[in-house]
């Protein structure tokens, strides 16, 4: 917990200063999570504000301060998902470029001509984001929370309010799809003759 239970109780009781402290404490973490979930830096702050806005108006529904963090994560996931749903049409149009993008990434990786740390980071980012495009938005979010955010199954269970086994199955399937896409990319990269044009 980044804040005391007492702070959360105060914020819940309508103390604006306490709410400000809660926002300040969790802001960075929530911004980071949203950045990884939506993949559009220019909209991260907007979605984060939506999360804290929802937090402000639903804080009175929080039963105990102990469940605050999973609950805040759930608000974050829901707000990110709502954002992605709004952007779906746009995403779909971007998806049509996916295979070409994957090939470009693979070609660049095969050429072994990384020109600096920034370039490599950018490549990794684009590759992972394109691989995550192989699964649905919901599974993409779930996989990001597990593999990138490093949340445990127990934490995910609280966020999604589903049992661990159902989560395991869903995660396994999502990971398999990503793995298949990754394998396909690697095969393309390792083609001995190389691609012409």
């Amino acid at each position: 917990m980044l804040v005391d239970f007492e702070q959360i109780q105060k914020a819940k009781a309508g103390d604006d200063a306490a709410f400000n402290q809660v926002v300040t404490a969790y802001r960075k973490r929530i911004l980071g999570t949203i950045a990884r979930l939506i993949g559009r830096p220019e909209d991260v702050e907007d979605v984060a504000q939506e999360v804290f806005l929802r937090l402000y108006y639903s804080l009175d529904q929080l039963r105990t301060p102990e469940v605050f963090e999973p609950w805040l994560y759930r608000l974050t996931v829901n707000a990110s998902y709502d954002y992605l749903r709004k952007q779906r049409r746009r995403n779909e149009s971007r998806m049509s470029d996916l295979s070409e993008q994957q090939v470009m990434m693979a070609d660049a990786a095969a050429g072994g001509k990384a020109s600096g740390e920034d370039h490599r980071r950018k490549q990794v980012k684009e590759l992972v984001e394109s691989l995550l495009g192989a699964v649905s938005e919901q599974d993409r979010i779930l996989l990001t929370l597990k593999e990138v955010e490093g949340l445990s199954l127990k934490e995910l269970e609280k966020i999604y309010s589903v049992n661990e086994n159902a989560l395991k199955v869903r995660l396994f399937r999502a990971r398999q799809r990503v793995l298949n896409a990754f394998e396909a990319t690697r095969v393309t990269t390792n083609k001995p003759a190389g691609r012409k044009d």
Partner: protein, 111 residues
């Protein structure tokens, strides 16, 4: 497959490391409070509209109830008893002409 699994794990780890920390802009908190207050004013407006609507509905209901209840309290004019009112409405002559009462009774009354 295991090899790809490990590579994918490494890729996720590199991805996490490659993402820069996101810092909130200076405008983050003021903008958040502006949105909170904006939502509050909308909720307040809805609450007021609901109150006005409820008050108007209650007033209309009271008016209808009073309109419906007024005729029930109105009494027919006249200060006599039921028998007197009945006798006024049906004079003895009329009843005799219809054969309900004998003629003698009418004449006795007129004397």
């Amino acid at each position: 497959m295991d090899q790809f699994n490990d590579e994918l794990n490494d890729l996720f780890a590199s991805y996490k490391a490659s993402l820069p920390d996101v810092e909130a802009s200076a405008n983050f908190m003021p903008e958040l409070w502006r949105r909170i207050e904006g939502r509050q004013s909308i909720l307040l407006r809805i609450k007021r509209l609901t109150q006005v609507f409820l008050a108007a509905a209650a007033a209309i209901s009271i008016v209808f109830v009073s309109l419906l209840s007024v005729p029930a309290f109105t009494r027919p004019d006249g200060s006599g008893s039921y028998i007197e009112v009945l006798a006024d409405a049906y004079p003895t002559e009329t009843l005799a002409s219809h054969g309900i009462l004998p003629r003698e009774a009418t004449e006795a009354n007129t004397k």
